[in-house]
């Protein structure tokens, strides 16, 4: 019962977040950097430039996020196995 309440609360809080950002006229779950710093910078008369390589086009950003995520994960997993090998006593039994 209590677990159900927690799950409902979490679902509600995310839904509220999404609806709230929509109500404020922002894109749902927009990143804090872009949408926000741009607004703020414009108030101060500064215009953010495009990145050197603008990867924020279509699914290109998904490609780079996924590629870098999987590479970093691979490195982390490989070195984790090297530094923390599974205890052999447990496996032997």
């Amino acid at each position: 019962m209590n677990r159900l309440k927690t799950v409902l609360f979490i679902m509600f809080s995310f839904a509220a977040g999404g609806l709230f950002s929509l109500a404020m006229g922002k894109e749902k779950w927009s990143g804090v950097d872009e949408a926000v710093l741009e607004k703020f910078a414009e108030e101060a008369g500064r215009v953010p430039l495009e990145p050197v390589f603008n990867t924020d086009q279509g699914d290109l950003l998904l490609f780079f996020f996924f590629l870098f995520g999987s590479l970093a994960g691979f490195i982390a997993g490989y070195l984790f196995r090297e530094l923390f090998p599974p205890k052999k006593e447990k496996k032997g039994k």
């Binding site: 209590n2 509220a16 404020m24 927009s30 990143g31 710093l37």
Partner: protein
């Protein structure tokens, strides 16, 4: 007892919910990635100059330490990759309705020391600026200052101080993770205020920035505290002889 705990739990939730709503209403949230074009060129150059000695010292520290200890290099790789993953994740924050990034630099500073944390933050932020459309190359110095120098040294200092005061590894790691996150975002706010304030509104602008990022960074900072505490407990359990960074010697 249980009823009281549940009631406290519920009221805590409403306090948080209220904070998020107020914060999100006040203005949008901010993050540690300042894009090119936002800081004037003078400030970009200034932060590059500030940050460069830390990077040089960090690299030479990596060279020296890796000669002494064979597990040092794989640990840099593991912690570097973990910090990169943590700081890239655009975590959706409930109630705030936006995504924001943890920093991951506190844990790197505890395990490897603050100078190497600066190097890890530099590599991470450079990759993000080049390929992930987060931050810029001119503003990289400022971003490295906030995340690497402030986040790293704050995390390291807090960990050492809390340990010296006699608290547990886990408590020290939690506070280091929490405050390195908040310190990073406070530093970004300060940088922006210094560069962009109108003459008479230094403190109000900083305060409005701090309020603006509290809806995302209060929960994310707590999350980073838990991640950091979990990682340190794991290392102490699995590798009791571990002795690098802030975990060296008697600490």
């Amino acid at each position: 007892m249980e009823a009281v705990a549940i009631r406290m739990n519920i009221s805590l939730r409403f306090v948080f919910a209220f904070l998020f709503f107020v914060g999100a209403f006040y203005t949008d949230a901010f993050a540690m990635h300042i894009a090119d074009g936002i800081l004037p060129a003078g400030w970009c150059a200034f932060w590059w100059v500030v940050v460069l000695p830390f990077i040089v010292a960090g690299i030479s520290k990596i060279k020296n330490e890796s000669k002494k200890d064979k597990t040092f290099k794989p640990f840099i790789g593991l912690i570097g990759a973990a910090a990169f993953i943590i700081s890239c994740l655009p975590v959706p924050v409930p109630f705030a309705g936006v995504t924001s990034h943890p920093v991951g630099v506190g844990i790197a500073a505890i395990i490897l020391g603050p100078l190497i944390a600066v190097v890890i933050a530099s590599v991470t932020l450079t990759l993000q600026a080049l390929f992930l459309a987060h931050g810029g190359l001119g503003t990289l110095g400022a971003d490295i200052f906030s995340m690497g120098v402030v986040g790293g040294f704050l995390g390291y200092g807090i960990f050492v101080a809390v340990r010296r005061l006699g608290f547990s590894w886990v408590t020290a790691a939690f506070l280091a993770g929490l405050l390195s996150d908040w310190g990073t975002y406070a530093s970004t706010s300060a940088l922006l205020t210094l560069a962009l304030h109108e003459v008479d509104s230094l403190l109000p602008m900083f305060a409005s920035l701090v309020i603006a990022f509290s809806p995302t960074q209060i929960p994310l900072g707590i999350m980073e505290g838990f991640i950091s505490a979990f990682a340190i407990r794991f290392i102490k359990n699995r590798m009791p002889e571990f002795s690098l960074g802030a975990m060296k010697g008697k600490l």
